[in-house]
């Protein structure tokens, strides 16, 4: 059975990315996100494609793969796909479903719109990207 808006809102509220976001922004997110199911091992987004949005894992997981390397394995509450929305470059990695997986998808223009509406969300995202950048820089040096 598909998630209702209040159920989506409750899920979104528990995602660290949306911590301290305005209540109206969470309401809008619950309306704007679409629930999408993926079979085990199905590609959710593909390297090289134009980014069409952000994905939040609700159930199951995602394996983030670039070339033949697994960069990360994500679980419920984690998100991916934000980078190609922000810098408008093609996807840098492919995400495969780990087991049967359900995601909430937020379209690019909706993400940009909520980022502009709520600076706290932009701050949360900026901190996540800063952490990933530092981890990537550290990895390159070792």
């Amino acid at each position: 059975m598909p998630l209702t808006s209040p159920e989506k809102r409750a899920l979104l509220e528990s995602v660290p990315l949306f911590r301290d976001c305005h209540s109206e922004v969470l309401d809008r997110l619950a309306e704007m996100t679409a629930e999408i199911a993926f079979d085990a091992d199905a590609p959710i987004v593909q390297q090289g494609q134009v980014g069409n949005g952000l994905y939040i894992v609700v159930r199951g997981g995602a394996s983030i793969v670039a070339g033949s390397d697994e960069l990360a394995r994500l679980g419920p509450g984690d998100f991916f796909g934000e980078l190609s929305v922000i810098d408008q470059q093609p996807r840098t990695a492919t995400a495969y479903a780990v087991g049967d997986t359900v995601c909430l998808a937020l379209a690019s223009w909706d993400l940009v719109s909520v980022l502009e509406q709520d600076p706290q969300l932009a701050m949360n995202l900026l901190k996540v990207l800063a952490g990933r950048l530092r981890a990537a820089d550290a990895q390159l040096r070792h």
Binding site: A66, D69, L71, E82, L83, I86, D87, Q89, T92, A93, L115, E116, P119, Q120, A122, M123, L125, L126, K127, L129, A130, G131, R132, L133, R134, A136, D137, A138, Q139, L140, R141
Partner: protein, 138 residues
């Protein structure tokens, strides 16, 4: 540099390009202008507490464990990653020739970005592009 000149150079930088004149004026008041002689270390690897810098004139080199990894020039900024993460810098940033920069004290960055969401969005895009490049290298 007088206030008008600072304002003119600010207006030309990508980070501030979405701000109207009054907001630019407010930024120029909030950040302080600083000059560094050639060779001065502006950020020190492993030492926190230096702040956020936007280069107005000149160039700096980003140095990790003694090796140069990047050169930054007018309009580029540095120091924000450490401040956002609450961790010390992982690189030295050293002036190559005389440098003029705008400086914001570390503890003020968070409120500054929340006050100027357009600047934060530009920063988000810049950090996203850097992450994108880092991912493609790995």
């Amino acid at each position: 540099m007088n206030q008008q000149q600072i304002l003119d150079s600010l207006a030309g930088l990508a980070l501030f390009s979405d701000l109207d004149r009054p907001r630019l004026q407010a930024v120029a008041h909030t950040m302080s202008e600083e000059s560094f002689p050639s060779g001065q270390r502006i950020l020190r690897q492993g030492f926190s507490g230096s702040g956020f810098f936007v280069i107005l004139e000149g160039e700096v080199v980003v140095r990790v464990d003694g090796g140069d990894v990047a050169v930054l020039g007018k309009g580029d900024f540095f120091g924000e990653i450490s401040l956002l993460l609450g961790e010390p810098p992982i690189a030295d940033v050293v002036a190559v020739g005389p440098v003029r920069a705008l400086h914001l004290a570390g503890p003020e960055l968070r409120d500054f970005l929340l006050d100027y969401p357009q600047v934060m969005y530009r920063m988000l895009q810049a950090v996203g592009r850097r992450l994108d490049r880092a991912n493609r290298r790995s």
